[in-house]
């Protein structure tokens, strides 16, 4: 029986002495320190999610995809700053070079949105599916967190992680262009009007694609299904929109464009930077600007609502 050894440990600390010193078995120590409760748990889960998005605290392989997408999203910005610097030195010819440069604030959304979608497709299923796959949810929900808190912390974690890979290249472009200007003050004055649209577009992109990915991932423990679902949810509507446009032109069918996340984000980008959208269907759309902005906001609200509802009901 193991009881005899345990009984000895019950009462007094065991002590073993030797020439090298003493070993004390102090037994079980209670915890008298602070218990920070629900809010601290939510914050901790949020940061844990952000770290997981970048593979921090996981193995090296978990870092490959997020950092690859981050670098791929960043490189065009570095090139863009380089072109701007060269253009400055080329004088009048430079004006033309810069005008024709494919890398500017308005075009950047189109350049990086693919990497943002891929980031979502790789990370969102892992953020939610893993806990479902291995039945970890009962362990979460039996702690200081509520079901709602779990969903909110995870969604915010992904959205903020996406913001980082979107904002970083924007920031490189923005700061780089200020620094290569003839005087930094002039540069700042010139670039400053672009700041608000940059932030707004980053929020739309991270918000819509992030929440949509989480809403899809919430419904399957299978990673492959969620990944396929996320890509399909972005790709299929945009294909449908393009087909409808080529067949019917702008007509009653054009409302479908509001259900296509990539077209909606293309539209908000064009609205914010007063530029021409990439998608012909959006370009020729007779819908008012506000319809696209509303579609983006409603999309985010619905995706968050669906995800929360799922977690309020999921068996644990």
């Amino acid at each position: 029986m193991t009881e005899s050894t345990a009984a000895a440990g019950d009462t007094a600390p065991l002590r073993a002495s030797g020439p090298g010193g003493s070993i004390y078995d102090l037994g079980y120590q209670g915890y008298e320190g602070p218990r920070l409760g629900r809010e601290a748990a939510i914050r901790a889960l949020f940061w844990h999610t952000v770290r997981s998005c970048y593979g921090i605290g996981r193995g090296g392989r978990a870092k490959i995809a997020p950092f690859a997408f981050g670098v791929l999203a960043l490189l065009p910005a570095v090139v863009g700053v380089g072109i701007a610097a060269l253009a400055r030195q080329a004088g009048e010819l430079g004006e033309i070079v810069e005008q024709s440069s494919p890398i500017n604030y308005a075009s950047y959304h189109g350049i990086i949105s693919t990497f943002v979608i891929l980031f979502c497709a790789v990370q969102a299923p892992e953020l939610l599916g893993r806990d479902q796959r291995y039945s970890v949810l009962p362990v979460y929900f039996s702690r200081a967190l509520a079901r709602l808190d779990y969903a909110v912390a995870k969604i915010l974690g992904l959205v903020v992680s996406l913001l980082a890979i979107i904002v970083l290249p924007y920031a490189v472009l923005f700061i780089g262009r200020i620094l290569v200007a003839e005087s930094p003050v002039d540069g700042l004055v010139e670039e400053l009007p672009n700041l608000a649209p940059l932030i707004a577009q980053a929020l739309f992109t991270a918000g819509l694609l992030g929440t949509l990915s989480m809403a899809i991932s919430a419904f399957t423990p299978r990673r492959a299904y969620a990944t396929a679902g996320i890509i399909a949810a972005v790709l299929i509507p945009s294909i449908v929109v393009a087909l409808l446009y080529s067949v019917m032109g702008d007509g009653p069918g054009e409302l479908v464009v509001l259900l296509s996340p990539s077209d909606v984000l293309d539209a908000t980008n064009a609205i914010l930077f007063a530029s021409s959208p990439d998608s012909p269907a959006v370009q020729d759309s007779t819908l008012p600007d506000v319809a696209f902005v509303a579609a983006a906001i409603i999309g985010i609200v619905v995706a968050v609502g669906v995800t929360i509802r799922r977690y309020l009901r999921i068996a644990a």
Binding site: E3, Y28, G30, R38, Y134, S135, V136, R143
Partner: protein, 303 residues
């Protein structure tokens, strides 16, 4: 104020299954065994106490707080070890338990210290830095216990903690549970369908069957009249049985074994003398509890 106070707690699942039927019960701190056959409602009761599922009607209060309205506040002080697997195989025990400490509201440094402490306590040492996927069942059960203990709860709810363990693993897990209750001063509720196992660690027993309370009483009153004695002899079983029957003792022959109805200390003496008189090679004499079903049949339900 009782630690757990349950009033008319009822849970109906979809499809008309009644998992818990108007259970009313007060539980005081200590090590409480929750026994019942599979499907009796043990897991349902534990999940209701944690607020993991919503009751159909009735209330459950833990530490005088309603678990439905004060879930997060109550659960800061409650540890739960689920019946089934709940561990991500790609995380290490240290990472998983540390993360769960923070999910209970512990600050970062405290979470790290408590994790080291509690993993040492359940007997995980160097392997705690390796991925859980490579652990044995026994080690996984220890990690499950560790995550339930890491925030130093006032109440520990264990759902079939010996599930899937070999006999040595069971002994160790039960010993850990016993120490948690006595040495650490944490109130423990252990659910099990094995009475013989649970009676080794707890001092109070709650028996439920088909969602109803059969009996809630200190362990002693539960088992004192229900024992029987198993006697095994190398040969001469029939001779012994006949001798015992002559002494007026009820005997059930079961293969090589003889089951003798226990009737106080006297029974031991009679068996000993009978074996000695016949000069039979005795293999063992062992006290055996009745099975859970027998226990329930014999006992008069009392609330």
């Amino acid at each position: 104020m009782p630690l757990i106070s349950i009033d008319g707690l009822t849970k109906h699942y979809r499809g008309g299954v009644i998992a818990l039927d108007a259970l009313t019960l007060d539980i005081e701190p200590g090590i409480v065994g929750l026994v019942g056959a599979n499907g009796a409602g043990k897991s349902t009761l534990i999940k209701l106490l944690l607020g993991l599922i919503e009751p159909t009607s009735g209330t459950a209060r833990v530490m005088d707080l309603d678990v439905r309205t004060h879930g997060p506040a109550v659960r800061q002080f409650v540890g739960y070890m689920p019946e089934h697997d709940c561990l991500p195989p790609d995380a290490s025990a240290t990472d998983f338990v540390g993360h769960m400490a923070r999910m209970s509201g512990l600050p970062r440094t405290a979470a790290r210290e408590r994790t080291a402490e509690v993993l040492r306590h359940v007997g995980l040492y160097e392997e705690r830095y390796r991925a859980i996927g490579g652990y044995s069942t026994g080690m996984k059960q220890r990690v499950k216990l560790a995550q339930a203990l890491v925030h130093d709860p006032r109440l520990l709810l264990l759902d079939e903690p010996t599930n899937g363990l070999d006999p040595a693993g069971r002994d160790e897990m039960l010993e850990l549970v016993r120490r948690t209750g006595t040495e650490f001063g944490i109130a423990v509720m252990v659910a099990s369908h094995l009475l013989g196992e649970i009676e080794r660690v707890c001092d109070f027993l709650v028996a439920i069957d088909a969602g109803r309370l059969l009996r809630a009483a200190p362990l002693g009153t539960f088992t004192e009249h229900t024992g029987s004695l198993v006697v095994e002899v190398e040969d001469g079983r029939d001779l012994l049985a006949a001798a015992l029957i002559r002494q007026g003792i009820e005997v059930i022959e079961d293969g090589r074994l003889i089951l003798v109805e226990l009737d106080g200390e006297r029974t031991y003496d009679i068996v000993r003398d009978a074996v000695a008189d016949l000069g039979l090679p005795l293999v063992r004499v062992e006290q055996r509890r009745h099975s859970l079903e027998d226990l329930f049949r014999d006992e008069v339900p009392a609330a």
